[in-house]
Symmetry: C2
Subunit: 425 residues, 2 copies
């Protein structure tokens, strides 16, 4: 096998919702009430919904075209971004340039757990806009390129019955997964252990969907020292994932829902061998604690039945892949965030596979087979495997310029071409 023969399906990327996202997904009477982009006097774009303005920190969320020096938590304007952030046609060109066949995109404005709609006061209106987000994502973004995107929806966290209904609604139209807050108690909601979310988990199982828990929403689980530098926020994110796994594994969730499938999105994998070893040792050693995972079943067995373990770059985890389970590993690209390996994802991934002695079989499992099975998503209904490889896709994208540019330069170039303009700017 050569690098160019790999097939890459990334189950962690991000769409920056475009200013016109609501145009086609709302009855006329709601048009005026939809979230809209307003460009401020400072040149930055903000979403305004129900009178509340919020700007996306493009400096962390959409840096794919920029030099590192321009990253940060700063807001920005659509026209400063690489167009693949928000334009699905440009996105697919960028995927091709990176040899990536399939992609699952998490929300940005809407929030991994529908934050924008949960925080707004008029919940009826919020539900309309949340559903319109899902419709935009499924029927417009994903549907534009069949076989290229795994549809991922969000649900109203403020009402579990509404969440159940939305799971069923989007499940029926082919959505494959729900993005949810990785540890609900981190933001004051009932925990997964509480049973509060069980009807939603049941609906997810019934619709054959995956619960995708992306890092970033539960940093409140760790009491950082008051002087903690910004590094803590980024380095510790994947630690939270381990706490999430512990809640699900030693709490009742997996025992109640033996068919529940959970992806630990961007959670990293290098912590897993240690965690599973410690969990099993604990379980076997502390025999006085009254819990059972079933006859002869270890915590690590249950983990492997439920979890998809996802990573961007992680030599330590790959080196110990047999201790994790090669069948539960999945690769991610994280376009257009700072951690993405775009446009050199194949080179990064291949180099790690070679350094850690992965076989061709291992590589296929990690780059696409596990993800496609877990999400029950089949890209080969739309393309042949020969047309799906890194080499074949890159051959389609020889005209894509992947050079990094300062955001000022993006703004000039994009605005001249009429890209990233906002209606009222």
């Amino acid at each position: 096998m050569r690098m160019d023969e790999m097939i890459l399906v990334s189950i962690d990327d991000h769409s920056i919702e475009p200013p016109d996202m609501y145009d086609k997904h709302l009855p006329a009477k709601y048009k005026d009430q939809a979230p809209k982009i307003v460009r401020g006097a400072n040149g930055n774009d903000q979403w305004v919904f129900q009178g509340q303005a919020s700007s996306t920190p493009f400096g962390m969320a959409a840096t794919v075209g920029w030099p590192r020096e321009e990253w940060g938590f700063n807001p920005g304007a659509f026209s400063e971004l690489r167009p693949g952030c928000f334009d699905v046609h440009e996105r697919v060109r960028d995927m091709n340039a990176n040899g990536v066949l399939g992609s699952m995109c998490f929300p940005t404005m809407a929030g991994f757990n529908a934050r924008t709609f949960t925080e707004a006061g008029d919940k009826d209106l919020s539900l309309v806009m949340l559903q319109a987000y899902n419709d935009w994502h499924i029927d417009e973004w994903c549907a534009a390129y069949p076989g290229r995107f795994i549809p991922l929806g969000i649900v109203p966290m403020w009402d579990v019955d509404l969440a159940v209904a939305e799971v069923h609604r989007i499940g029926k139209k082919g959505c494959k997964s729900i993005s949810f807050l990785e540890a609900p108690h981190a933001q004051g909601y009932p925990s997964f252990l509480s049973g509060h979310w069980d009807p939603m988990l049941q609906a997810i199982v019934e619709e054959n969907m995956v619960l995708s828990l992306h890092i970033g929403g539960a940093l409140g689980l760790i009491n950082q020292p008051p002087e903690a530098p910004i590094d803590h926020l980024i380095v510790l994110s994947t630690q939270i994932t381990m706490l999430v796994a512990q809640d699900l594994l030693f709490g009742p969730t997996f025992r109640k829902f033996p068919k529940l499938r959970v992806a630990l999105s961007e959670g990293g994998i290098g912590w897993i061998p240690f965690y599973l070893e410690r969990a099993d040792r604990h379980f076997q050693n502390q025999a006085w604690i009254d819990n059972s995972f079933g006859d002869g079943v270890l915590p690590s067995d249950v983990f492997r039945e439920h979890i998809l373990a996802c990573y961007i770059t992680d030599r330590s985890g790959l080196a110990l892949r047999e201790r994790i389970g090669v069948d539960i590993l999945a690769w991610e690209c994280d376009y257009p965030h700072t951690d993405t390996t775009w446009p050199e994802s194949p080179e990064y991934a291949w180099s790690e596979f070679q350094d850690t002695g992965c076989s061709d079989e291992d590589i296929h499992k990690i780059t696409w087979e596990n993800a496609c099975r877990f999400y029950d998503w089949d890209p080969f209904a739309h393309t042949t495997k020969e047309q799906a490889t890194v080499g074949a896709l890159r051959a389609l994208a020889s005209d894509v310029d992947t050079t990094r540019m300062p955001k000022d330069q993006w703004r000039k170039q994009n605005e001249a071409a009429g890209i990233g303009l906002v209606p009222n700017a």
Copy 2:
């Protein structure tokens, strides 16, 4: 090399302070005010100090002789314990039976961070008793068997100037390390990042001592769900260690004190390859964050200059020992806690070394060389290497019975032999 040729120095064990610990270390006028053991009507022993009673959860802290079913957070009586918990002569016999040459013992009643003295109201009296604890530990427990124990002291957390003075006082009489709260902010003290503890860290460096941060004191760093089972407490302990490492590494501590040596006691090692890889990737990727570890120096380099990474059983960490650094790994026994591998520590350790392909050189580093260098402690001033091996020590202990017994049986046997009696029972 054979298993019997290993030399084992454990830098994490625990003494259960015996009822008579204060007899030889106080001026007459303080004798009545020392913490004393009172046996209650329920048959359990409690320490009483300044009118406050507290019992040790022997069911987690001193289970070495018991069947697993009797573990728990229950209190108990000295006479229910395997005498090696509190009697130094029996301890050395138990070390011999386990092939262990050297041991560093953390406090129990006194607390890893002198909790008992910090919480009491009369701080002058507390300081007297804290110092008497250190004197008992250094001059009685450790001094009874030269070359067998690494002295480890505690300091008054309530006053950093007093802590500085105590570091110097016990440093001068050969103490090798200070046990301290792994993350002070977890219990409402200023964090390591705050600078508050700098004078103490400076004193530790000046005395050529090691800061030993044992797991268990900072579980408050993690906001567990309200329904968290008891498993969380045990499985997550080593997660805290990673948070402690992050505080020290990305905070100013290591940069301010380039010679500070910190042992992450019972912290486990399997999380380290992932953590260091993530820390380095973060540091190199997020170039906009204003921090430097020195020209061309990576976070992982700094980690390896300061840290001793300690484990009891950890195949994942050993398998990736080259990614951690074989020179910073150290083995632990954890006698008499639930996690101990006694009396089969050599078999456990050897099996893990073989499974992970450790060389003789690796094994010597991990079982004694690294610990002896880090703590600047030389057991071979008192014995030859030939007399220090697992095989040689076990040959001295053929009469030691290592059978587990229910605590009722221990009580009967010990009380008949006049062992573990308390003065007023």
